[in-house]
């Protein structure tokens, strides 16, 4: 009965998201789930994105966690985002787990071999959050086993140095992550690295939905690097995930990624899926221009 309810919720969420997205316009900015590239939101555009992860950790209950993201291009060199996180765990509850506010700034305006982006985030989450938008410190699969408990509050600052290159259709991105619980906890560190490429270099002349130019393949690897007192790979978890992206012309963008745990501290298998919809020149449209 519980499993049935869980499935109904999943189907409900999927249908709601598809209905929402069917009204829309295309393209996601990133070809990854965890890794950021130097691609920022176009100024004036608002991207609404549902980024979900589902898993069934051994010894714990299956869950689906979703981060609803609102990403706005303030300037060509500045993108601001708001995330609202929530999750459903079978046999436990459906809970709102907090919010994140992030800003990405491009300090170097021209395109170079390696393009740096500075990333600043404030998170106000509770202990039930399972959205796994990054892995830092000594995050392990144990974090997914405890029952939904919102009593633990986590107010954290997160900094990232994003380095990214576009070359002959390939994107290679590296993220170095430092996160600090604003209570008296040490800095924690993590990383994410991604590689992706579109399946076609040139655009075809005819309109098409399923042609190669609308698809991209990639892979990302991410994990923790310990904290200030115990930097390194000991007691950390790491994941590898291939990513398939499909940008439906003048429609939503869809991404799928099976994620595999790479050591005993990681969840064995999780699945990520994403649906995004971009509204061009959001405020101009509101003003009717």
């Amino acid at each position: 009965m519980k499993i049935s309810n869980f499935r109904h919720r999943c189907v409900y969420h999927a249908v709601a998201l598809l209905a929402f997205a069917s009204a829309g316009s295309l393209r996601a900015q990133e070809n990854y789930f965890v890794t950021y590239s130097h691609q920022l939101e176009e100024p004036g555009n608002l991207e609404i994105e549902s980024k979900s992860i589902t898993g069934s950790p051994g010894g714990g209950n299956p869950f689906v966690a979703t981060a609803l993201e609102f990403e706005y291009g303030v300037r060509t060199w500045w993108t601001a985002e708001l995330y609202l996180d929530g999750q459903t765990t079978v046999g436990e509850s459906t809970v709102f787990t907090g919010f994140r506010i992030e800003n990405r700034i491009r300090p170097v305006l021209r395109e170079h071999w390696i393009n740096p982006i500075l990333y600043f985030e404030f998170e106000n989450l509770n202990g039930a959050d399972k959205s796994l938008l990054e892995v830092v410190g000594h995050d392990t699969r144990e974090d997914f086993l405890s029952r939904n408990d919102r009593s633990e509050k986590k107010r954290e600052a997160e900094l990232k140095l994003i380095l990214s290159s576009n070359f002959k259709g390939w994107n290679v991105s590296e993220n170095i992550i430092a996160e600090k619980n604003l209570k008296n906890f040490p800095w924690e560190f993590g990383y994410a690295v991604g590689v992706s490429r579109g399946l076609a270099m040139a655009m075809s002349a005819k309109p098409c939905t399923f042609c190669r130019e609308n698809f991209a393949l990639g892979a990302e690897i991410y994990g923790g690097l310990g904290d200030r007192h115990s930097f390194g790979l000991a007691d950390t978890s790491h994941y590898l995930g291939p990513v398939l992206s499909w940008n439906i012309p003048r429609g939503p963008s869809v991404k799928l990624s099976p994620n595999f745990g790479l050591n005993g501290n990681s969840n064995g298998f999780m699945f990520r899926f994403l649906l995004s919809y971009e509204i061009d020149q959001f405020f101009s449209r509101l003003r009717g221009e």
Binding site: L26, R27, S37, Q39, L40, E42, P43, G44, N45, G73, R75, T76, W77, R106, L109, R110, E111, N166, K168, G169, N171, G198, M201, A202, M203, S204, A205, K206, P207, P249, R250, D280, Q281, F283, S284, R287, E289
Partner: protein
């Protein structure tokens, strides 16, 4: 202390220029390196390139520059007319450079995420606009 004040003033001025400098003034043309300016469009004579470029334009550029590429005024922002003499007279290599680097102070993002052939297709489309 004086140096700190001077640095702060410069920083504020630079920041203000980044925030408020929005007009498409063609200043970017002066920044194109010679080797980029002289690049030849490999798809200039490709019969599919203008059609493919039109698809890219409709998807990614039209919301700012207008469906007909004639430019737009959105609030206080002026989005340049791509049928202008400046674009007609620009070398293909200059337009390719602009698509790759953007003109970020003027609100034009970089489109380096498009593979090179797609950027050349867009250049072909722009050069054939009446």
């Amino acid at each position: 202390m004086k140096a700190r004040g001077l640095f702060l003033a410069l920083w504020i001025l630079t920041g203000a220029e980044m925030v408020f400098g929005e007009a498409g003034d063609g200043q970017w043309l002066r920044k194109v390196p010679a080797k980029d300016r002289s690049r030849v469009n490999p798809l200039a004579n490709d019969t599919d390139a203008p059609l493919a470029g039109a698809k890219i334009f409709a998807e990614h550029c039209a919301s700012c520059h207008g469906e007909d590429a004639g430019g737009k005024v959105q609030g206080k922002h002026i989005r340049p007319n791509l049928r202008s003499d400046r674009i007609k007279q620009a070398a293909p290599g200059e337009l390719f450079w602009l698509l790759t680097n953007g003109s970020q102070k003027n609100g034009m993002p970089s489109w380096s995420r498009f593979p090179e052939p797609q950027r050349w297709q867009l250049v072909t489309y722009l050069k054939r606009l009446p």
